[in-house]
């Protein structure tokens, strides 16, 4: 609008900065929108320059990534043993959550879970033996993410554990995840006592074959459909999976009964019914199988993995291949179970932030105001958190919607450029593990991702763009 055209119009003002200016304008009845501005992250000028030169290319590539994410079709198609299906899995390999890490830098709960897994595998008789073995060179550690797999909390997957097999029917890729053990003393929080191992063995002996038969009976289960419905029922499918678990239960129950003896069917269905988080281990691989299809799009600044190993927080971008960008994992702001406090809390841990990466979890918290109460927030805070996440995403989901925002699609496709430019960090729902091995969960809460991995990732992307040019 030319200067002289402005003189003929009513002023419509966007106020970026001092709110007192907005107040004065409102007093003289002028239309004004206030921007709640934050400074961008600290990053070198050169990176920003490269990014700004390539900005239209990056945007174009991000649209491609978003399209792949939106068109993903995650189905549960089978259950198998880890060693039989997970690519690259070995007899002496243990997969873990988060970016790569060595035993000496692992946190307490991750070590605890590995001790439990070695006992479960029969590779050690007792915790002392297991610890010795774990610290030796005989065991190979690798991130779940590098094997099309995700795991909640410690995310430990050992060779004989049964896993869900998911397929992205649109792109043909697969993803894997163990079955959820429930709450209390469980391996994923680093507990390795006798009852933990016994439950894992029961899951392998009873739950696994029963569900396998049921899933095969049904052929496949549409997880996208379940997640979309669950969002309308108060879940964000990360910290709250009650509705999704119920929906899954309704689909699987007849098939479980049809394909199993009554006493087995009763126990299996009781187990699922008794664990509100059962669906977490399906929502996570559903997100993983969706996001993996959006990998390796050159120049794309979309995050395809965002995860923590209890020590480091790491992300991967679509445009930078298998490269990890890591920073220190923060300690969550949480509501603690009685008797525990922030002093007991481990640094943030788990692959479960794959849900946020796919626009669910903390990004969809407006669907699940119950979660925000974990940190004493209000229902309005939940709406605000989700609305803030639209600032850092490429687009909105076409299937996953938020009723309280007029069925607006969930904010989808975290754009690292926007994260850095706006200084706004992804918002994550999470569970909190005790920092000592063997104790388990001590609370649940929310947190913002740390900035370091994002600024590093943007630098990495800028470098890859420069290479491409040369």
């Amino acid at each position: 609008m030319a200067i002289n055209d402005l003189f003929d119009k009513d002023l419509k003002i966007i106020n970026i900065g001092l709110t007192s200016f907005k107040d004065s304008l409102e007093e003289v009845q002028v239309d004004v929108v206030q921007v709640d501005w934050k400074p961008p992250a600290d990053i070198d000028e050169k990176t920003m320059e490269i990014i700004s030169i390539h900005s239209s290319y990056i945007e174009k590539q991000n649209e491609k990534s978003l399209k792949k994410i939106l068109s993903g079709m995650p189905f549960l198609i089978d259950l198998e043993r880890a060693i039989d299906v997970i690519p690259g899995m070995k007899k002496n390999m243990i997969l873990h959550a988060g970016p790569p890490i060595t035993w000496d830098r692992m946190c307490g709960p991750m070590r605890g879970a590995i001790i439990g897994a070695l006992i479960y595998e029969g590779m050690a008789e007792n915790p002392e033996e297991a610890e010795k073995l774990a610290a030796s060179n005989e065991i190979e550690y690798s991130p779940c993410h590098e094997h099309n797999t995700v795991g909640p909390m410690a995310g430990i997957v050992s060779p004989s554990m049964p896993v869900f097999v998911l397929k992205n029917e649109e792109y043909g890729n697969h993803a894997y995840c163990t079955m959820n053990e429930g709450l209390g003393k469980v391996l994923r929080y680093g507990a390795f006592s006798k009852e933990v191992i016994e439950k894992l063995r029961w899951m392998e002996a009873v739950l696994y074959p029963a569900l396998k038969k049921a899933v095969r009976e049904l052929g496949k289960i549409d997880l996208k459909n379940i997640i979309a419905q669950a969002l309308h029922m108060g879940d964000e499918v990360h910290n709250r999976n009650r509705a999704a678990t119920s929906l899954f239960y309704r689909q699987i129950a007849p098939a479980v009964i049809k394909t199993n003896d009554t006493d087995v069917a009763v126990k299996v269905l009781e187990f699922i019914n008794g664990n509100d988080h059962f669906f977490l281990n399906l929502s996570m691989p559903a997100c993983k199988v969706t996001l993996d299809a959006a990998r390796n799009i050159k120049g794309s600044s979309v995050v395809v993995a965002m995860t923590r190993n209890g020590t480091d927080f790491g992300i991967q971008l679509s445009g930078t291949g298998d490269q990890w960008f890591v920073g220190s994992a923060p300690i969550p702001d949480a509501l603690f179970f009685p008797g525990y406090s922030k002093d007991d809390a481990n640094r943030d841990i788990g692959d479960s932030s794959i849900t946020e990466t796919n626009g669910l979890g903390g990004f969809a918290i407006a669907s699940s105001p119950a979660i925000v109460q974990f940190v004493g927030g209000t229902a309005k805070d939940a709406l605000n958190y989700t609305q803030e996440m639209y600032e850092i995403t490429v687009g909105e989901n076409n299937i996953y919607q938020i009723p309280s925002l007029n069925f607006r699609g969930t904010p989808t496709g975290i754009d690292v450029v926007k994260v850095v430019e706006k200084g706004i960090l992804p918002f994550i729902d999470t569970g909190v593990a005790h920092k000592k091995a063997g104790i388990g969960q001590v609370g649940a809460g929310v947190l913002s991702a740390p900035m370091e991995p994002f600024t590093k990732a943007l630098k990495g992307l800028a470098e890859s763009l420069e290479k491409k040019k040369n």
Partner: protein, 532 residues
Amino acid sequence: MVVKGKIKRGEYFDSVTLMLVAKQINVIAGITDAAVVMNTEENRSILESSGLLMPEFESAKGSDLLICLKAESNEIAEKAMLQVDDVLDKVRHEISDTEDFLPKSLETAMKTMPDANLALISVAGKYAAREAMKALKKGLHVMIFSDNVPIENEIKLKKYAKENDLLVMGPDCGTAIINGVPLAFANVVNRGNVGIVAASGTGLQEISSIISNNGSGISQAIGTGGRDVKKEVGGIIFLAALDALNRDKSTEIIVLVSKPPAKEVLKKILEKVKNITKPVIAIFFGADDKTFKNSKAIQAKTLEEAAFIAVNLAKKKDKDSFKEMLVKRQKTIQETAKKEVNTKNREQKYLRGLFCGGTLCEEAQIIFQDQIGDVYSNMSSKEKFLLKDSWESCRNTVIDMGGDEFTVGRPHPMIDFSLRNRRILKEAEDPEVAVILFDVVLGYGSNMNPAEELVPVIKKANSISKRGQISFVCSITGTEYDPQNRRKVKQKLEEAGVYVMESNAAACELSGLIIKILSEKFEKKEDRHGNK
């Protein structure tokens, strides 16, 4: 005296919030100075100059908050430090608990208001240019209130704006009136047929207020930011605004106002004036009279004069018909001055001008130069009259209280009177002081209760100066439509014995005259400074 410092990592607050926090801490008994600032280079250098840059601040990063307290004792400092935490916490949570969702970026705000046409930007200077460029690229006109924007960014923005026929007012543009809407620090004035282009904030306020107070009004008042008329920027927006006003049907008279522009820029402006079809009145402080020879522009000597000429032309009267009124006023001023001189003792001979308006302080220096000779100032363009220490006056002195040395961690003196109030009392203690001159600037953004804050200080100052009476003279820039209401402020100040003049020029005239008569009356042997 102890000095205590603390870094709060990764805590971002906007500068105004921090100033309000600092203000609350500064009033604690036993605290002599408090700074609560974000760790920017500018803030660091300001802290350094005021002796508040602690060694431990070395490790601070860009997003860190720096707190520094000067206190009478360690105990007071520690207590106050805790209070800072409390206040910050309160400020943070007041926002997060109650506010509706606010867009976090221009692009999101544009979704709420797709037909937005102007962005008002007041974020920290180093980020302002980026936000401004984003707004320009979306086709919005921009006003940048922020200062400390690198000049190369200003040039880039203004070049882009020129190519796309957009306005960039600022950086460091404190005031503008577009389509009758007062932006940032601006007065509520009548609408009318006078358009203003200003590279001077209080200049724009003073002229627009006087025009409005004399029954005419403003079509558009466009601020350009002081640097626009410097050589580097070359007057890009000043010239574009002049063109726009020339084309604007509602504008019949144009007023140009600026602190000293660069020679080549002034030349360009006067060149452009040749092609302007409307009468142009110009006041460029410090410009050589010769430059105006053969120019179509009508040169005004003071802001008031510029306003009067504009009013006469707006009312289709002879442009000089105001002069009669000025002659009459001169008589009144003379009578008042004589009366005031009689209240002084032999020692009293100097004036102290304490300004919150930078252009008003500049105008005062020029008026006094003719009347009583050069005066000292923290903003003097003459080396000899530049104060060595801004906190200590010397003979006849005028101070711009908006200077950086006074605004570290504090709101501008138009908002926060506390520093100037202290200075008024300090000057009153000086037995050689005869006149205290000050300005009051009204309008949105300024202090909402100026009279209530000034009157007790003036009363106290009067009680301090025992030997002879001090004359208090002031001008009020503003209108009766301003939220503070000029008429009411004037009445209260007059009740406290202050001479409230119609303009800064008139206030200077009265103050200078008192000094002039005093010096003639008590002629001393010593050579008076600054005589020509």
